[in-house]
Amino acid sequence: MQDVKDTSDTRGATTPADGQKTQEAGPAKPPPPNPGPARQQAMPYGIVGQRLEQVTRRVPVDEPPPLPENAKLKSIGKPVSRLDGIEKVTGRARYTFDVQLPGMLWGQRVLAPLPHARIKSIDTSAAERYPGVRAVHVMERLLSTAKLRDPKAEQGNRYPTVRYAGQPIAGVAADSPRAAEAAARLIKVEYEPLPHVTDLEEAMKENAPRVFPGPTEQPSTAGGGGAPPGLPQKGNVRGPDSKPLGMGPRGDVQRGFAESDVVIDVEYRTQVQTHVPMEPHGLVADWRDEGLTLYASTQYMGSVRDEAAEYFDLPKSKVRVICDYTGGGFGAKYGIGNFGLLAIHLSRKARAPVRMVLDRREEHVSGGNRPNSIQRLKLGAKKDGSLVAIQLKAWGSGGVAGGAGVGFCHSTLYECPNVQMEQYDVFTNAGPCAAFRAPGQVQGIFGLEQSIDELAERIGMDPLALRNKIDVSRTDDAVARAHERRVGAEKFGWSKRRPAGSDKGPIKRGVGFAQSQWLYLVHRNTGCEVRVLGDGSVEAFSGTQDIGTGTRTILAQVVAEELGLRPEDIGAHVGDSRYPPGPASGGSRVTSSLTPAARNAAYRCARDLASRLAPVFQASADDIVFADGKVMVKGKASSAMPFRDAVKKAGFNEIAHRAERRDDYEGYMAVTPEMGISRHGIGGVQFAEVAVDTETGIVKVERVLAVHDCGRPINPKLTESQIYGGVIQGVSYALYEERHLDAGSGHQLNANVDQYKIVGSRETPSIEVILLEQLGAQSSTDARGVAEPANVATAAAVANAFYNATGKRIRTLPMTPANVLAALRA
């Protein structure tokens, strides 16, 4: 078929809604999607069960035909249990933490006890002599930190400057953990202490101790974060970034406020949250002449391979990364990290595998965190609710790392002609931040969604009705949210909502609502290989990793669908960088990226197989059908033969096809070398019911209803599970989690799971999930992600419920008794 022009958009708008027209595209203006031969393809578009229409897309010729809605499918869209569930609950699943190799050595880090110091000397001789020690390495390069724009300021220093208590200085590898720990204590480091600052507001002061002696840069990692290059920096304050992710500003906010009937100008504060994955960061490095093998607890094997290749000057082909299972990441597990750097150096020196796994304390201190924030948010609106101006000034500290912004919702979620954002990174002598399940957006939504609620009350409008009026960009996520508000309100009983502060007694109940929005991202360089072996067994390979979401299972489901098999019939292999490149498990992009590639490969296998089976069935290849574990000729049930028997009859050794994830059929709003960013988002809405004990300040979240869209749900059971996790994490952030640093020493006081408080079973609300099936006609599976949106709205929904319960706004997180009692007295 000829390369034809796309005429496919039936919604009459290929640009975002009016309010967003002035936005500049993000990182780069993308080329037209999918060059090469294409066909015009009619595809279903819309929300299943609502209005499904046909759109025509320009689709590469070798893409499989569009899938119908899930109800018409056999494997995709079904609540299949995790294929590796039994492995996990029986302990057979091998996490990096569990990796034991012959001759493996145990690594231990030496950590700085001071929050800011120059290292004058390091004496490793006693450690090197300690029995059982096989290698010692002193760090000469530090990762996971901002870098001086002009390194001359610290040129004379032999070792990286210590900028936070707990910063790794050196590592030891020994025959036993005990020997490694004892030897690490023998490394003598002479420090020249420097003045330090750990508090956000203290660090913003002009005369505050400088964390860096000059301006810094912090490129983003594959996990996100970072800040645009070349921003001004004064003291510890770097910024403003006025175009987070390339979005905004627009219009003239001053004029907007002048034209507003209502102005809401308030301040929000959020805390530092650490990731606390069940499995800490860790890496086992095995350096051999023939190449380097890395067993990594990671969200992206590609980033581990690439960093190892870069820092050790190895061809990428000589670095193999293996990751059978990752025990959670939430954004923090990218690259090799300082612990990985040490492990590789030590393995190279000792010529033996070295295990380097962070303990719980280090995981809190240096494994990453969500930056805190101070947000001054000013909204201007007309009496009818239409927004006229949004102005945000935000400061946050990611410790020694940049990337403390509060997201992009201010310019993207609601229609508003005048938007201005100034986001500042403030450096402090604290461990580095990392991307964290909807980086920035969680903090930003906490403020924005409360202010929108406040506006609704000021103009006497129902909060949902106000959103109906202003959440009107013609993107798929906005369309989905409109539907979600309707469905959710009915299910939740929103109409029974009472005026704020209705309860008379000390325990006050209330309900609240907030919206979620995240990017719909595609990992561009995603491939998948599917093999049909001569005995009828089927395998699928992807160089992605499973951080707990069930990636193997959805891979198997998609392949099974094409071949008419059950998911458990498919050997689904992930976790090896030698497989075709897979997506990063971050930014809610695995399912959206992997499943189209997998389906494309499986489809090619199925067509190839059909042509080989045609002679066996004495039929045309086009008439060969795979269904219910059988092969048959279309319309001839009597011809049905079990899949395996049929394949054996075809008499081949193996059919293998590799296919790629094509660009979204509609194209992207922006691209980076790794990512395609759709103009559509993903999101949802969440309703919360809380009980506030106004005498003790204890907040209990009793119920959450989460209504979410994720394109086509490939596996509703796993999707719901991920939404449960997002809500639980959101409640935990709203009520409990907070890193406490001692300002005097720079040490984290609650670097454990005892005093770092996380939601427990009794604090977990009753959670109900409603999933939309939304077809966007963008790829061969139309799947999108859900991980981040599940966590974005929760804290804001709880805060809005708090207001409805008590009649008081809580603008400071977490909602501890101390903060709650202060808010109630305000």
């Binding site: 006890p113 208590a165 005990r178 720990e181 004892a182 005498e695 003790t696 300040g697 204890i698 409990y736 406490h740 640093l741 001692d742 300002a743 005097g744 020493s745 040490h747 006081l749 609650n750 005892d754 005093q755 408080k757 939601v759 427990g760 079973s761 009794r762 604090e763 501890t816 008794p817 101390a818 009692l821 202060a822």
Partner: protein, 329 residues
Amino acid sequence: MQSFEWVDAESVEQAVTLLGESKDGRPVVAKAGGMDLLDLMKGGVLSPHRVVNLKGIKGLDGVRFDARQGLELGALVTLSRISREPEVRNRFVALSEAAEHAATPQVRNAATIGGNLLQRPRCWYFRNEHFHQAGGDDLARVRDGQNQYHAIFDNQRTAMVHASTPATALLAYGASVELVGPGGKTRTVPVSELLLPPDMKRPRDTVLAPNELLTRVRIPAPAAGTRAAYHKQGERESYDWPLCDVAVVLQLDGRVVRQAAIAMGWVAPTPRRATEAEKLLVGRPVDEELARQVAKAAVAGATPLSKNAYKVSILETVVRRTVLAAAKA
């Protein structure tokens, strides 16, 4: 954690002898459930030369009640058993409630009442190896630092609080402990005198001598008309250290209070009796208004630190609610 020796003690005498061998730099420590000990060792706060395991000693895991003698708990009785034992539940509900709300089910299955009473403070400065090595003024560090969970009373010399929550209930019940030293020398010490204000520079926060063993806990038999209630207020319910905990034991004559004990934990270096508040109760029937006055009196004289004034109002609420709960029990 550093290497250490392990000895299974077979008798109280043997354990006391072994503990008597403790020296500076070569500490010998006792282990019952091992809950606190393991935490301290993993945190680098305690590096014993030798650990004396008490779990094999016979006769220290009994629960006995006698209408004249009262309740006797062996030091090795676990918290989960205290929370379930009918003699405790029926007659000393504040204690069984305190045991039931401590830690987690797993910890309660292993933790003993003896070990619980002798545990070190949960202060996050105390629990951090760094602050033991750093030297300096331990109190100033807390006063200038993160003191949201610290003492709101009697905090002029230390702001750390004792961690045991059963101690709060035991204090309200007028309990005492039996301590055994060398040669079987036995002394009985009231819980109110057992606990000392915590100190980072001391190896323990009790009057227990290095060569003594806590062997039993005793609570006098309750008088007729005794009612009690206990409440632990944490930020979380699932598993948390308290912001405060309160035990109230009332002896009622009809509706009129004859005797009252209000004990408050986690608000002072050691669990504290609200003596002025108790006086308000005696001779009167408990109602909402009286409970309000009692609670107010219980927090009078509080001297909160920079970040823990919120604990004062929470304590006031919890005292009021627990007094009312005890009267209704």
